[in-house]
């Protein structure tokens, strides 16, 4: 079956603009994660959705970052008033449930803020 997909694959934007990044998880996966991967850094946890529960937003770096997950499936990560330090690869992952389940990662969206 299809894996996790993300769009766009690349995004170039100007400082101060808003961007939306999309993630389509594997069908039937109830858990969805967003991470940020910066050059030379590990994966930084951003936000976690599990079913219909309230998301764990503890990793969002500022109030310019938000995410939603509609219908328990597709998720959108929105960055408002982008800054140059937001430039990174944004990765989405899904798993069947939370817990020790394996995460399946999408190919990522490479964001460049000029």
């Amino acid at each position: 079956g299809a894996g996790v997909s993300q769009s766009p694959s690349n995004k170039v934007t100007e400082k101060g603009k808003d961007v939306e990044l999309r993630c389509d998880p594997i069908s039937g996966h109830t858990a969805l994660y967003w991470y940020r991967q910066s050059l030379g850094q590990g994966l930084e946890f951003l936000i976690y959705f599990q079913g219909n529960s309230a998301p764990d937003k503890s990793g969002l770096p500022s109030d310019r970052f938000s995410a939603e997950r509609t219908g328990g499936s597709v998720s959108t990560l929105t960055i408002q008033r982008t800054q140059q330090e937001d430039s990174a690869v944004y990765l989405c992952a899904s798993s069947i449930t939370a817990g020790g389940e394996t995460q399946y990662f999408g190919p990522g969206t490479r964001l460049l803020v000029l």
Partner: protein, 113 residues
Amino acid sequence: AQSVAQPEDQVNVAEGNPLTVKCTYSVSGNPYLFWYVQYPNRGLQFLLKYITGDNLVKGSYGFEAEFNKSQTSFHLKKPSALVSDSALYFCAVRDMPGNQFYFGTGTSLTVIP
């Protein structure tokens, strides 16, 4: 604080030789431990995980890892390296019962023909 450390940014090994990629962790509860691999221009792929049971875990592509509770380590190993193993390797830990996964900064493995 929960954390994962991969002390080596870069590991070089000759083809056919055994390889080890190191990982240590710090969590407050029982750890769930994972290894992922990232090939150039591709997403992260699951290699193996330790949840409970046997401390030696076998995973994809001939890799294995040993959970050592006393040393809080989860090193990735392979008896005979292939050039195609060259990639970026990430160790991750989930601190149960939390939701977050903590990833290391990655180790770039180069297998020299």
